[in-house]
Amino acid sequence: MGVIFQPAIIALLLASALCVLALAASAPFALEVIRRWDITSGSERQLQLERRTYLFSTLLTFVLALQLAAVLLFVFNAEKMSGMFVGAMCAVGTLNVNAFGFPALNAKIAVFFLAAMWLAINHVDSRARDYPLVRIKYALLLALAPLLAASAWTELQYFLGLKADVITSCCGSLFSAGSPTLAAEASALPPLPAMWLFYGSLGAAIALAAWHGHGRGRNGRSAYALAAASALGFGATIAGILSFVSLYVYEHPNHHCPFCILKPEYGYQGYWLYVPLFGATAAGLAVGAIQPFARIESLREIVPGFSRHLAAIAANGFALTAAIATAMIWQSRLILIEH
C-alpha cells in the first residue's frame, strides 16, 4: 500500500479524479445542451446555457489538457519506480507488476489523442460567435466520458495493485522476437524494411502536412489524408523504435525496449523522440477532427486557419522525430546494416 504514496502517483490519481469529477459535473449540463439548445430563443434557460457553456468548456479544457500532460508523467513515474520492483529494469517491469499496467498506459495514450481532438473542436467552436458546434462537442464529450472513466479506473487498479514484493519481468522478455505479442512482432521486423517504413511514413506525413498547409488549410481531402498519415506515422515510428532505433541507442543488436531509452543512463533520449511524435500525431489527427465542420458558415475562415496551424505543428513534429532518430543512429557505434 505504501507504494501508492509517491508524489507522481498522487498527482496522477488527483488529475484523473479531477477529470472524472469534472465530467460527472458536466454531464447533466451536456445533456441539457443537447436536448434544449436553441440559439434563436431569448428565453431565460437559453441565456443560462449560453453563459454556462463558457464556464464548462473552460473547465473541460483545463482537465483534458491535464490529461495530455498526465501521459508524460505516467511514463516518467513508471520508469522512475522501476528500482522498487524485483526484476524490473525499466518502465516495462513497473507496468508488468500487475495486469492493469499496460492497459492503463494504452488507455492514457487513447485519452491523449481523443482529448487532443476534442480540444481542437472546442477551440474552433469558441472562436465563432454563434456556438456552431456546441451540441456536437458536448455529445462527443459524453461519448468520451466512459473512456476517461475507464482510464481513471484502470489507473487506480494499477496503482492499488502495485506490490513491492512481486517479482516482475523485464523488457527483455516482452520485446524479444519469440514473445507472442504485437510489440515482439514489431521488434522482430528486419531493420531495413522497418527503416523504409519509418522514414517513408514520416516523410508521407510531412509531405501531406505541407500539402495541406500549402492549400491554406482549405482542402478537405488533404486534411483527412493528413489525419490518416499521422496515425500511420505514429504506428510506423513506434515499430521503427522497437525494430532499429532502440538498437542504435543501446548499441546492442538484441535490446528492443522502447522504454529503456527514457532512462537517465541513456540521457533521457526517449523523451526527445516521443514528445514531438505524440504532439505531431495529435495535431495531425486534430486536422481531421475539425475538417467536417469547415463548411459551417461561421467557421469558414476559422477552421482553415487553425487547420493550417495544426498542419505546421504536425510537419515540424514529424520532421523533428525523424531528425532526432537519425541523429541517434548517426552517433551510434552499432553497425546494423552492412553496406
Partner: protein, 225 residues
C-alpha cells in the same frame, strides 16, 4: 441600429430578495439620433443602459446590434464590441486618479494596438475640441467637475465609437456646467453620432438636442415623446 426584444433582467435571482429591474422591454434605438431614457430612481434606466452597452447580460431576451445578436456572445467578443463600437460616459466619470487627463483619455486605445502617435494626435484633437488642451498633463483629481466630465467625454470618443452611452451625465454638474455639456452634446449630435443617455434633468430631456425621450417606470417603458 440597436433592437431590444423582450428584455428582462433580474438581480439576486432565486433568493428571497429577487428583484426584476427590467420587465419586458421591446425597444428600437435609431442610428444618428439622441435618445434619452427618463424615469425616477429605480425605474431601470441604468440597467437598460448597461445591457445596451454590453456591460451586463439580460436574464431573458435578445439585444441585436445592426442585426447581430450580441446578448449571447462570449465575453471575448463583447470586449471587442465594447471597445470599438461603444463609448461610455459614467455618472461618476470613473477616471483613474494619479494619471493625467491625457493618459486617462488614451487608455481605452491601448488594447486596439493603434500606433501611439496616432492615438496621441486623436487625444490632442479631442482635448482641443473641448477646450481642455491646457490641462492635458494635469492629474485628473486636480480638475474641476466640468473638466473631469470633458476628460470622460474625450475618453469615450478616443476609439471613435458609433454609439455614445451616457448615464446621468449632468447629475454632478451645476446649471452652468450642465449647459456646457448640452453644447458638447449638440456638437456630437451634429457629427451624426448615435447617443443614448439616461437623465431626469429637465435641462437635458427638454432640450431640442434630444430627439426622443422614453419614459420608464418599474422596469417598463410607459411613454415616449
Amino acid at each position: 441600429m440597436i433592437e431590444l426584444h423582450a428584455i428582462r433582467k433580474a438581480f439576486n435571482q432565486g433568493r428571497h430578495n429577487e428583484y426584476w429591474a427590467l420587465d419586458g422591454i421591446d425597444l428600437s434605438i435609431e442610428a444618428n439620433k439622441v435618445t434619452a431614457l427618463r424615469g425616477p430612481s429605480g425605474s431601470g434606466k441604468t440597467t437598460l443602459l448597461t445591457i445596451v452597452g454590453c456591460l451586463a447580460r439580460p436574464t431573458e431576451g435578445r439585444v441585436r446590434l445592426q442585426g447581430e445578436d450580441i446578448s449571447g456572445l462570449p465575453e471575448r467578443f463583447l470586449t471587442e464590441i465594447r471597445r470599438k463600437r461603444f463609448g461610455f460616459i459614467f455618472q461618476q466619470f470613473n477616471l483613474i486618479k494619479g494619471l493625467s487627463a491625457l493618459d486617462n483619455i488614451i487608455l481605452p486605445a491601448y488594447p486596439t494596438g493603434r500606433p501611439r502617435r496616432q492615438v496621441l494626435d486623436r487625444a490632442e484633437e479631442l482635448l482641443a475640441g473641448l477646450k481642455l488642451g491646457h490641462r492635458r498633463h494635469a492629474k485628473v483629481e486636480w480638475l474641476s467637475g466640468g473638466e473631469q466630465q470633458r476628460v470622460a467625454i474625450c475618453r469615450a470618443l478616443i476609439n471613435d465609437p458609433e454609439l455614445l452611452i451616457a448615464d446621468e451625465p449632468t447629475a454632478n454638474l451645476d446649471t452652468h456646467l450642465a449647459g456646457e455639456f448640452m453644447g458638447i452634446l449638440e456638437s456630437l449630435a451634429d457629427q451624426g453620432r448615435t447617443i443614448l443617455l439616461t437623465s431626469h434633468d429637465p435641462l437635458v430631456v427638454e432640450s431640442d438636442v434630444v430627439q426622443r425621450v422614453i419614459d420608464m417606470r418599474d422596469g417598463r417603458l410607459i411613454h415616449e415623446r
